[in-house]
Each structure stands twice: as structure tokens, then as C-alpha cells.
């Protein structure tokens, strides 16, 4: 979503800013070291590394769906919706129940009916999560819209804990396993590079959802209302936009995206725990900040990058820190980005950030 532009950057930077130069140099060195590491890994094990990249893109698609929810909500309310990750988790849990118990699909289910049922589960999960997210906004954020900024942030954390415990009460403390509905058979193999159907399906579902979102925000009246509300809520209200309804609609859309992500995650990873929503949500939030929070293409770019970094960290053979350190690495990126470039990769310079 468009971020308000302020005085141009050039006017504010002094002619010789040593601190900025130093920062730029250090960031450049860091990126160069990272690229060198990637290149060495490709030289050492080309096919494994390519597989890792393919996994990373799949993960990135999942994160993009979640990160867009954060970015949509932040763009319109300037609120970090901590509960978003748990809405995503609820989507996954609903999927596990729908696919496994209600529809009775199993690992061997194939055919047109299976696909129709998966699409039905996708729609149900999206609607369910959208409604949950809009309800959260109505109960926990709307009454606090004029309160100090930190108040809705705190209720968001509270809601996140409540959702986690609801999932804990319904689905239990252990990981829920989901039947392997997506076929794991190989799409192609090429010199040790393997690409399975389930990865392709994740991408095939994600891309149309993203395109639909772009169409919605850019070319519909409701999308125009969302952009206007994001720019200036009061002015939008004066122009006759129903701000409350627009905000609710945004939460509905964000929740729908989280529901889609929940379904894809549940069916791709085939297990899901009640606490994972919060952790994956934080990773997706990092992605949103990485790309520039409030910026839709930025969220997708950041998500793919974070997905790649996570996959490389866990999959590369040459000097990779391993999955024990994934969270630390992702949060270090988050902290570095927030401290040194709070507007993100694609975002414009915003006044509040720095």
C-alpha cells in the first residue's frame, strides 16, 4: 500500500555523511560475504543447492501469503497484528480436520473429486480465517483505535495467546498430522535436481491468489477505498468512505490469505502444532518488514528472500549454521533491517521509521 512520501531524501542527507557511508559499506560487505557463501555452496554441491533453492521458493510463497496479511493490516491501521500468525495456524488446523476427518481424504486419494474437495477446503479455511480475523478486529482493536499506540499492540498479543489456547483445547498439545493429499511424485529430475508436484501445487495456488489480491487492491472500488483509508483515515471518511467497513474488509482479506497459507502449509508440511503459528507468523512479519511494511510487492519479495535464506541455512552443505539457528538468523535480519533501513527494501523513506 502506498506509504506517504515526505521531503525528498536527497534534501535531508548532508553532503558528506560518514556514518551513512560506513553503514552502506558494511551492508555491502555483508551482502558480498553472503553471495560468496552461496556461490561456494553451488560449486561444492550444485544439485543439492538447486534443490534447496526450490524448497526456498516454496517456503517463500507460503510466507508471502502470511506476510501480505501483516502488510495489509499495517498499511491501513499501522498496527502489528500479532494474532495474525495464530489465525494462520487456525487455518491449518481447520484444514487438518476438514481434509482428514470430514472429507476423509487419505494419502492415496487422487482424482477430480479429491481436487474439488481440496478447493472446497481452501475456500472454507479462507472464509473461516477471514471471519476470525475480522472478529478480532471488531473485539480487540476497534475500541482502542483512538487509544495510545501501544494499547492495541498489547491486546493483539493477548488475542494471539487466546487463539493459541483455543487451538490447544480443540486439537491438543501434540503436533496434528495431516494426510499427504498433494502427490509427492516427481515432476522432473535433472542431474540430481528433483522437483515434486507438491511444491509446484503450492506455487500454483499462491500465484493466482496474489494476482487476485493485486487486482482487488488496484482495480476495484473496495481496493481504492482501502488505499484511501491507508493514506489518511479522516480524509477518507470525509470523502464518504465507510472507514470501519473498509478496515473490517481489510482484516477479512488478510485473514483469507492466512487461511490459504494455513491450508497450503498443512498439506505441504503435513504436520502442524498449536505454537507454530506464532513462530511462523514472526518469520512472515520479518519478511514483511524486509520488503518494506505496508508495501504489497515488497512483502512478496521479502517473503521469497526469507524463505530462500531459511532453506539455505537449513539445507546447504558448506558452513551452514543449521536449523537450530534459523530463528536467530531471521530475527537478526529483522533487527538489522529495522535499525538501519526501517523502510525495507522496496519501501520509501518514512518519517516515523528512523
Amino acid at each position: 500500500m502506498a506509504t506517504p512520501t515526505h521531503a525528498s531524501v536527497a534534501a535531508r542527507t548532508r553532503p558528506l555523511d560518514v556514518g551513512r557511508l560506513l553503514q552502506g559499506g558494511l551492508a555491502g560487505l555483508l551482502v558480498l560475504a553472503f553471495l560468496a557463501w552461496v556461490v561456494v555452496n553451488f560449486v561444492e554441491a550444485p544439485s543439492d543447492s538447486t534443490n534447496v533453492i526450490l524448497i526456498g521458493i516454496t517456503l517463500g510463497c507460503l510466507y508471502a501469503l502470511i506476510a501480505l496479511g501483516y502488510t495489509l493490516v499495517y498499511g491501513i491501521l499501522e498496527l502489528i497484528n500479532f494474532a495474525h500468525g495464530d489465525v494462520f495456524m487456525l487455518g491449518g488446523m481447520i484444514t487438518s480436520t476438514l481434509v482428514g476427518t470430514v472429507f476423509g481424504l487419505g494419502a492415496g486419494s487422487r482424482g477430480v473429486v479429491t481436487w474439488l474437495l481440496v478447493v472446497a477446503a481452501l475456500l472454507i479455511a479462507m472464509i473461516f480465517c477471514g471471519v476470525v480475523n475480522a472478529t478480532i478486529e471488531f473485539i480487540a482493536y476497534r475500541p482502542l483505535r483512538s487509544a495510545p499506540r501501544l494499547a492495541p499492540l498489547l491486546t493483539a498479543i493477548g488475542v494471539s495467546f487466546i487463539l493459541e489456547d483455543i487451538a490447544l483445547a480443540i486439537w491438543g498439545p501434540n503436533f496434528v498430522s495431516v494426510p499427504q493429499v498433494f502427490p509427492e511424485s516427481r515432476l522432473f529430475t535433472f542431474h540430481g535436481i528433483v522437483y515434486e508436484w507438491d511444491k509446484l501445487i503450492v506455487v500454483l495456488i499462491t500465484v493466482p491468489v496474489l494476482l487476485a489480491l493485486v487486482w482487488l487492491v488496484q482495480y476495484t472500488k473496495q481496493g481504492k477505498a482501502m488505499r484511501a483509508t491507508a493514506q489518511d483515515m479522516d480524509a477518507a471518511a470525509m470523502m464518504g468512505i465507510n472507514v470501519n467497513r473498509t478496515v473490517s474488509f481489510t482484516f477479512l482479506i488478510a485473514g483469507g490469505l492466512a487461511g490459504a497459507a494455513g491450508l497450503l502449509y498443512a498439506l505441504y508440511v503435513t504436520n502442524l502444532g498449536f505454537q507454530q503459528g506464532f513462530q511462523l507468523g514472526l518469520i512472515a512479519f520479518t519478511a514483511a518488514v524486509f520488503g518494506g511494511i505496508g508495501n504489497l510487492p515488497g512483502a512478496v519479495l521479502g517473503a521469497v528472500l526469507i524463505g530462500l535464506i531459511q532453506a539455505m541455512n537449513e539445507g546447504f552443505v558448506w558452513h551452514a549454521p543449521g536449523s537450530d539457528w534459523t530463528q536467530s538468523i531471521v530475527f537478526s535480519i529483522l533487527i538489522l533491517i529495522l535499525v538501519f533501513r526501517p523502510e525495507g527494501l522496496l519501501g520509501e523513506q518514512v518519517q516515523e521509521g528512523g
Binding site: 487509544a147 495510545p148 487466546i162 514472526l282 536467530s328 530475527f331 535499525v339
Partner: protein, 485 residues
């Protein structure tokens, strides 16, 4: 709040006082009777609590004394301990205000110090069960200390810190490094007790370790704070959350840092045991009041309890004096309006960093003392949930008000340690439902945070200044409403 609710509230406020009091009393009597018919103790407990609150609000002196006697005497007959508590509350409440302000903390402190002696004679509370034992009391006080420390950051300076557990962990691990076998190639002994002189590892006196841990954690707070504190409120919250996740992960994976084989934290096994606190035989002979070694004492929990109270007193005293100092006033100014504060010449970065360092300092002492009490540190103790749990204490008690924070933290820490388990047991005997209540602890904190922020954002015992700040945007009231105090 919906418009209908606001209207109903206004209509209720317009009623004459007699009508409102009669309505509320009638409502409460109905609840008490309903509860009496259901579970007798619960009904009596509710009646006692409601009666206590109402009595204190009666203006007419003779009438009030009569009601107080009517409350105290039956309580003394039925449950002597409850009667004594009731009488003590009334005696303190009857004192004139200036004396009461000084007497209340003294009475509370005396009651706390004597707690180990009378805890076994106390009654059980409906729903929550028995009063906490002394060991639980130590943990409660440690959490109260942490809440008072976090209150400096969140309550005074208005900086939301979602990673306070990082400071708690830093303090605990610092204590563990300096009082255990963690570094077997080092050999440094200074004032430690209860160990043989040739024991490998670093062993310092616990009384030295507490300030070291506090200063070390304070420095960690400065290091974390310097780059991050220029961020705006919600970004800062996220960054602190990030640190709160990174540090425990380092603790978990720290048994083989970067594949070099260097063992910093002993990984998931944690560091255990730690040396015992104590004053050594020399001091013990000179002043018999000081115990030589806590763990050799028959009542080691009591010693830990009283030491914890002493540490808490230091924390509360520092926190209270700091609030009224130049620095504390600067914190409150920043909380209320950062831009205005900067315009008045308050150095934002330095002031915020101090708030962070002081909050970390007390978190560090609390963490170190907790590690010494448990004689262990495990990375599993330092989850994000703990950060939110401590934050919940501050919010429930009342951000910015030390007494509120102490009450809120004590209550929630008790719930966490014993209360929720007792509640589960009570529910299964009286309602015949079996719910593992402690399993849902974080959800319960979530509900508490949500309800407090929606309906009473200033907390149970509010800081008066903070109330004005929180409500000025919500309801259209004059900025400083004259209160008849």
C-alpha cells in the same frame, strides 16, 4: 464500546447516589446468596470481600464502626485468621490519611516478613486453595522484582519491551557462570562457601555475584538499547521481541558455539548445581544472626524468602526514588509526549537508554537470585511466554504505579505457581469438570491483558498521572479533571 452501552452508562450515572448504592448492594447480595446455595465457602468469601470493600466507603463514622465490628467479630469466631486479617485492614484504614500512607507499607512489610511463621495456620481460599508456601513465596518475590524492573521500562518510560526474558536469562546465566563447575579450566575462588578449595571452576561469593549479574545485565541492556531505542514504539517492541527470542536460542545452542566446541551455556541440559549462598563461618561466628550456609540450615526456604524480601526492598526503594528523581521525571515526560520532551531539552536517547539499563539491572538481579534459589539455570525457563507474563503483571497492577505492580505481580505469580493448579482441583471437585487449568495459563493471561486494556487500561491500582494520559484520547474529558482527593 457501542453507543447503547455508553448511553446506558450515562443513564446509570445520572441516578441519585442512594439508588446506585442500593442497586449495587442488592446485586451483590443476590450474587452472594446464589453462591451460598451453590458452594458455601465461595458465597461467604464473596460476601466478606464485597462487605470489606463497601465498609471502607461508608462516610458516617459511627455507622462504619458498627459495620466493621459486625464484619470482624463473626469472622474472629468462625475463622480466627480471617478475623485478624479483617481487623488489621480496618485498623489501618481507620488511621488518618497522612499516617496511613506511612503505616501501610510498614504493616505490609511486617506481614510479609512474619509470613513463614503463620502460613501453616492460615485458611484455604475458595477457588484458589491454600496460601502459597514459603518456597513459592520466594519465586513470587522474584517475579515481583522483575515486574518492578519492567515497570521502569514500560510504566515510567513508556517503552514496550517484549523481550524482558532476555535480561532475566542473562542474569541467571551470569550467576551460573560465576558459581558453578561450568568453566573447569579456570580456577578462581573468592568468598564462595560450602565448596572444597581445590574445586575447579569459578566460584565467587553469591553476594558479589548478584551485583555483578545486575551490572552485566545492565550493560547488556545498554548494548541492546543503543541501536534500537531510536525506533518508534511498536518497532521497538518487535526488536526487543527479537532479542528475547535470540538470547534463549543462544542459551539452547550454546554448548558448541559455531562448531568450535566452546561450551558457554551447557546447552539444553542447563548449568547445575550452583553454589549455596551464605555468609561463611567467620561472619556467622561474629554475628550469629547471619547464617553460614543457607542449604545447611533446617529452614533454608525461610532464609531464601527473607533474602528475597531484602532484595525486593532495595528494588522497590530504588524504583521509587528514581521515579521522583530528575531522570524519572524525564522518563514520564518522554512517555507522555516524546516530541515535547525533546523540545524541553531532555536528551531522548540517553534517558531512554537509562530506563532500559535500569530495567535490565533489576531483571538481572532477579534472574541471578532465581538461579541461585533453584541452584540451576535451564534454557527452557526463558520463553517468550515469560516476557508476556511479566508484562501482564505490570498491566494488571497498573503501569507506572509501584504498589499496583507489586500487587498485580504477586497475584499473577501466585496464580502461575500454585493458584491455577488449585483452581483446576477446585473445578473438578465442585463442577465435576476436569480441565488442566495450568496448561491454559498463557491463554488466561491473554484474557487478562485483553480485558484490562479494553475496560480498565490504567490497571487495578492506577497511577493517577497515567489515567489522565490513557483516557484523554478515549473519552472527551478535560485534560486535568479536578479530583477531590
Amino acid at each position: 464500546m457501542s453507543l447503547a452501552m455508553v448511553r446506558a452508562k450515562e443513564r446509570w450515572r445520572e441516578q441519585p447516589q442512594r439508588v446506585r448504592v442500593a442497586g449495587l448492594v442488592g446485586f451483590e447480595v443476590a450474587i452472594a446468596i446464589a453462591l451460598l446455595l451453590w458452594v458455601r465457602e465461595l458465597g461467604w468469601g464473596f460476601a466478606w470481600f464485597a462487605g470489606l470493600l463497601w465498609t471502607l466507603r461508608i462516610r458516617e463514622e459511627r455507622f462504619r464502626w458498627g459495620v466493621e465490628a459486625a464484619m470482624t467479630i463473626p469472622a474472629l469466631v468462625v475463622l480466627p485468621a480471617l478475623g485478624i486479617i479483617t481487623a488489621a485492614i480496618y485498623l489501618v484504614a481507620e488511621l488518618p490519611r497522612p499516617i496511613r500512607r506511612r503505616v501501610t507499607p510498614v504493616v505490609a512489610l511486617g506481614a510479609a516478613l512474619a509470613y513463614p511463621f503463620y502460613v501453616s495456620h492460615l485458611f484455604t481460599i475458595p477457588i484458589f486453595g491454600a496460601f502459597p508456601d514459603v518456597a513459592t513465596g520466594v519465586v513470587m518475590i522474584v517475579f515481583v522484582m522483575m515486574a518492578v524492573g519492567l515497570n521502569i521500562v514500560v510504566g515510567y518510560a513508556g517503552l514496550l519491551d517484549l523481550g524482558y526474558v532476555a535480561f532475566y536469562a542473562t542474569g541467571a546465566y551470569t550467576a551460573a557462570w560465576f558459581a558453578s563447575l561450568q568453566f573447569p579450566h579456570q580456577h578462581l575462588h573468592f568468598g564462595a562457601i560450602g565448596i572444597t578449595p581445590d574445586l575447579p571452576g569459578i566460584h565467587l561469593s553469591i553476594w558479589l555475584i548478584l551485583p555483578i549479574a545486575a551490572i552485566f545485565t545492565g550493560c547488556a541492556g545498554i548494548i541492546i538499547g543503543l541501536p534500537t531505542l531510536r525506533l518508534r514504539g511498536d518497532y521497538l517492541a518487535i526488536v526487543t521481541l527479537g532479542f528475547g527470542e535470540i538470547l534463549p536460542q543462544i542459551a539452547r545452542n550454546g554448548d558448541n558455539l559455531f562448531g568450535t566446541g566452546f561450551n558457554l551455556t551447557n546447552g539444553p541440559n542447563g548449568i547445575t548445581p550452583l553454589d549455596a549462598p551464605g555468609f561463611g563461618n567467620t561472619l556467622h561466628k561474629a554475628i550469629p544472626f547471619l547464617p553460614a550456609n543457607y542449604l545447611n540450615s533446617t529452614n533454608s526456604d525461610r532464609l531464601f524468602f527473607w533474602t528475597a524480601i531484602a532484595l525486593l526492598l532495595i528494588t522497590v526503594f530504588c524504583s521509587w526514588r528514581m521515579r521522583d528523581s530528575r531522570l524519572g521525571r524525564a522518563w514520564i515526560a518522554i512517555r507522555e509526549d516524546e516530541i515535547a520532551a525533546a523540545a524541553m531539552g531532555i536528551p531522548l536517547m540517553r534517558t531512554k537508554t537509562w530506563a532500559y539499563a535500569m530495567g535490565a539491572f533489576f531483571g538481572g538481579i532477579a534472574g541471578a537470585y532465581y538461579a541461585v534459589f533453584k541452584s540451576a539455570t535451564f534454557p527452557g525457563d526463558f520463553f517468550f511466554n515469560i516476557s508476556v507474563f511479566i508484562l501482564c503483571m505490570v498491566i494488571l497492577g497498573g503501569m507506572g504505579n509501584i504498589w499496583g505492580v507489586i500487587v498485580g505481580a504477586g497475584f499473577l505469580a501466585y496464580l502461575n505457581q500454585e493458584g491455577l493448579a488449585n483452581t483446576g482441583a477446585w473445578l473438578s471437585t465442585n463442577l465435576h469438570v476436569s480441565i488442566d487449568v495450568p496448561l491454559y495459563a498463557s491463554g488466561i493471561y491473554g484474557v487478562i491483558i485483553l480485558l484490562v486494556m479494553l475496560f480498565r487500561p490504567e490497571g487495578l491500582i492506577p497511577d493517577r498521572r497515567h489515567v489522565v494520559e490513557l483516557h484523554e484520547g478515549v473519552e472527551d474529558e478535560p485534560l486535568y479533571q479536578a479530583e477531590t482527593a
